[in-house]
Point group: D2
Chain length 378, copies 4
Amino acid sequence: MGMIGGGKGAFIGAVHRIAAAMDGQMQLVCGAFSSNPETSKNSGKELYLDDDRVYGSFKEMIEKEVQLPEDQRMDVVAIVTPNHVHFEPARLALENGFHVICDKPMTFNTEEALELEKLVEKTGLVFALTHTYTGYPMIKQAREMITSGVFGQVRKVVVEYPQGWLSTPLERTGQTQASWRTDPAKSGKAGAVGDIGTHAENLAETITGLKVKELSADVSTFVEGRLLDDDANVLLRFDNGAKGVLHCSQISAGEENELNIRVYGEKGGIEWHQQEPNTMLVKWLDKPMEVYRTATGYLGETAAAHTRTPAGHPEGYLEAFANIYRNVAATIQARLEGREPEKQYLDFPTVHDGVRGMKFIDAVINSGKNNAAWTKIG
Amino acid sequence: MGMIGGGKGAFIGAVHRIAAAMDGQMQLVCGAFSSNPETSKNSGKELYLDDDRVYGSFKEMIEKEVQLPEDQRMDVVAIVTPNHVHFEPARLALENGFHVICDKPMTFNTEEALELEKLVEKTGLVFALTHTYTGYPMIKQAREMITSGVFGQVRKVVVEYPQGWLSTPLERTGQTQASWRTDPAKSGKAGAVGDIGTHAENLAETITGLKVKELSADVSTFVEGRLLDDDANVLLRFDNGAKGVLHCSQISAGEENELNIRVYGEKGGIEWHQQEPNTMLVKWLDKPMEVYRTATGYLGETAAAHTRTPAGHPEGYLEAFANIYRNVAATIQARLEGREPEKQYLDFPTVHDGVRGMKFIDAVINSGKNNAAWTKIG
Amino acid sequence: MGMIGGGKGAFIGAVHRIAAAMDGQMQLVCGAFSSNPETSKNSGKELYLDDDRVYGSFKEMIEKEVQLPEDQRMDVVAIVTPNHVHFEPARLALENGFHVICDKPMTFNTEEALELEKLVEKTGLVFALTHTYTGYPMIKQAREMITSGVFGQVRKVVVEYPQGWLSTPLERTGQTQASWRTDPAKSGKAGAVGDIGTHAENLAETITGLKVKELSADVSTFVEGRLLDDDANVLLRFDNGAKGVLHCSQISAGEENELNIRVYGEKGGIEWHQQEPNTMLVKWLDKPMEVYRTATGYLGETAAAHTRTPAGHPEGYLEAFANIYRNVAATIQARLEGREPEKQYLDFPTVHDGVRGMKFIDAVINSGKNNAAWTKIG
Amino acid sequence: MGMIGGGKGAFIGAVHRIAAAMDGQMQLVCGAFSSNPETSKNSGKELYLDDDRVYGSFKEMIEKEVQLPEDQRMDVVAIVTPNHVHFEPARLALENGFHVICDKPMTFNTEEALELEKLVEKTGLVFALTHTYTGYPMIKQAREMITSGVFGQVRKVVVEYPQGWLSTPLERTGQTQASWRTDPAKSGKAGAVGDIGTHAENLAETITGLKVKELSADVSTFVEGRLLDDDANVLLRFDNGAKGVLHCSQISAGEENELNIRVYGEKGGIEWHQQEPNTMLVKWLDKPMEVYRTATGYLGETAAAHTRTPAGHPEGYLEAFANIYRNVAATIQARLEGREPEKQYLDFPTVHDGVRGMKFIDAVINSGKNNAAWTKIG
């Protein structure tokens, strides 16, 4: 694996590296960790990489790696840069035959996303998008139960993603994470909506197997001088007639990373909170609520395949992230061996999730500009 | 106190009687418990009332009671009938000099509500509306903290009222509570929106001291054949610029009575769940979340005045209800004694809350009919 | 009903009055509210009692009431005084034909308890002990499930009663509740063990249907100068071979009234916390934990009979207390009518629970004095 | 790093490998994964190790590795075998100059433990014991707060470790984990007490900085035919006069791995549950309970140094384990560089914790055999 971005001071790059290392299926062999070659070199050194596999730019990395013998060069490129530097390295990687793992939202705009989608289809390469939260075992379980119909038809979905860390103009202090996320030149047209709203959308659609057909969004910027949205309240209408509410916020003071979802069907439903990810509440019309827990004997095969430790040994965000990496590795490995991947490892967000997310951003931002007019996705 | 409605099989009538009895400040002395005189008589007997104080109709009750000597006749009328029988008895009671305690929503339609408001203003009598949930001590505490400004300006409000009990067409089984609540002739133009949406609206406005300026509502009926709404998702805009989400539902399968509210200000906020009413979470930008509990030494005077037992002795729904009765009794008592009521007992929902609730129903239902167009309240 | 004790400033007297009033089955008609006749008179006035039914002493009350015509005099005496004034009024009441509701622990010492037990057996009168916590509906449900054998044989019981309110020498400030509870002349030989340890013991034995056979207790006084224990850790051995832990404390700083119990059988068990009394966790070896909730359709008949409101409308401590009063009233009423009480209302703690509690106190205190030697109960 | 044990089918070996890999500070270079050379070879293959670094026995591994050039041979041995195979490999490793990471309980008996302690002192090598639970950041925070005295003197400690997985005679099905843990020849004199009781003891002593002076233990075997204890209830007396309760169980049906601790001081205290490890409740006598959360700004430096992701991104058991590995690596690195390790990384359980644990086992088992007689530790 080679990494693009994720040099000193970055957050998500380190997360990708831990995720890759955890199950011992992917090894970091090279990187272009920063647009500043010096920073890139130093980061590579700290990661115990050979000097000659640490590059000054992603272009250099891809061009040089592709010239290495097949058994030495990287298999996969992990792109962990801000949004405006997703498309170019992804395109170049795919065109040179490398599989791609890319951070979300997938691209800077929808045009780029559609182009990537075409390229992935054309090349047949693996493209994984790190919508981490669907990597949790309980999300596998929820999806299995909901789509199996045990709750009857889905009627209502409530998905929330409140954070409070941008309640003040943190970007003006120079804080790295805040700075690029609130900068339209780097983040794209959306702030909270792109950064975390897309996670909520992806979670809701993944878990229910439904698609949001149209939405009505009240999009706000509460912190004075901020250039992108920091809060959005969205009404959802799904393709099966279900209704929903999605809200995401970076100004919900006192919240950490409280992504959660409730799905209600005719006979019951589920509730899950990312901050306590090993627990899922299963509700029923006429019997007691059940508390499903990871790594227990009553879970389905797919959920079971995404834990590493026995019940009561909490796994968390890094393990959910690692589940994506592990599944990508298993998929690539299966291809190398000319066989189908194991069914339970097929499961990771793809370029299609990425396109969907970009269209969701478009719809929310457009609806917001039109006083929350109903807007179709895509 | 005399009661109108609340005969055998009714739910809320018994609740009113317990609430009245709890603190020994109000005594049930007469009633017209049913439009069926026989049922009324039998109900009166079970309640140990004198036969001659049990009436065949509310009209008879008011007319006869007003002729009793002042020290014998009832002071207050409690109206616990379905919505379509709120206005007439309330009007008659006020016109005959009786204070009124009325169930919510206040009337069948907004016209009646406005007329009642005028009558209350004209007569100067006490009119209390049993929006029970603002009777909880933690709601007093929340209101005090929020309106004091400790959290800075309010930015976002999320208020939810999910229930699941009408997930099936229960009204077709003849179940009393379901039947009238889903019947437009008895309930008015709204189902879930009137029955529980108004509680959510009242809670949000009471706790923040803000008013909803306009709203956009996606109103649904999920159970086939049902004549009124059973679910609504609503975007809110408050008069201070805050945004919000309100959703109420009777088809959230597996939910009991999960009214809850979160308020976010610039520096922190609160979270409260009706099903665990003695706890309120207080969140802050940069220090640990605090868990406020009823009957503790650090609560404000008003919250303290609305509990009866020490910390750790849970009080519940009936006590919240009794808080309204106790405060009404204290207010009437103060008037009889020609003095101001104690400040901490002034606190109960009034005819103005009732008018507000009816206008909220109008706005939500109208918005719903107009594909969730933004609609002003009132 | 007549009340002994419970004058101004008392805590538990007011609780008894609310409990009696709540369901309208018991009416306070007389009282001897204080050993100070003036205080008694004033308390009676505040409670709207006739002056001539407010007495200067419990002796006077019993002697005068018994001379009133049968249909006028009180039926039941409620004794809400400190422990050293339980026995005499209870004895006098029983000897004069009055039923008794008595606060816990039942008496000052075991000798008194045994004498009362004999007297109750001899007179055949109703004697109820207000071990409030077994009045909760979920405790009825727990007992029904455990004793039915759905969990197999009980193996382990953990019952805890931590409070923190006596972490400082509060008794030295003159605080009423603290003063008598830490005074051996009023409280008896035990502090925390008598006041709350007996609740824990009663809960454990009630819920399991088992008896503690022997115990080993480490009894402590942490606050310097305090005359009675304020903490005890106890190992339990039950008559069926189950083992257990009981600990009670008044110096667990930061705890309110956190009585809780866990029972483990061969196949599963339950967990219940008094501070959230409407919820009971039901655990199983090989299926998801279930969350039982009051007033739901899947509860047993007895649990159902002890709530007043639908699911999601929390009932609390006062309702649990009222359940005892309601059941006593139903029992007395049945006797007056010469019939058996309804099965589901038979259920309240009796003089035998009281004797058991006093023997428990003896055993714990004796064990404590003998360096936690194993000590049999009774 | 070289590993002893942890071949196919083992649980804790895989955990050690993930923990070592997570932060990229330790690399698995060799192993003797099984006493069966074939199994060892196959395990090594699956882990992508060079064939010639996969050994048939720990003896072979240590003897051969020590002959490799210094920059090629392993630095550290990780011992992840059942208890009866801890001492010999640890001794051999230390005698040959290798640092050791050893699973707990440290040895088969106390004699071995004392010998190891001497050897560690003599060699000056690093010896880490994987009492995982003290690796959680919140435990660092708890220890810092408690030992700083913010809660005043500690008065009471309640530490629990209930599991339910051995509620049935699982060992008779041949299940690997159950089999050796219930076999005196492999596990030593204790079952639950050694496997999980030592974790509870280590947690209590680590978090408070206190030592258990004496204890009284009621030790049971509930599952018929089981050869070791599966439940113990223990009274604790600490060296500062604090009292406590420790109970551990493998027959608490329905529990997963619910290690938890409550510590009460004069002014407040803490509560922590391993299954939700990112949250710690901080309780106070006279102000609201606070909810401390990992990766927040208000935590101390040491707690902060033991997380990898921002607040709201849950870390779990594997990260706690990795914290031990990371700190061992930092310590060894510092030694190699001839400097003091960073203060916040010094923190891992040592051979002294191991000795203490073995003495605790002795005391509990002895007390249990003497009808819970008070027994001193060590």
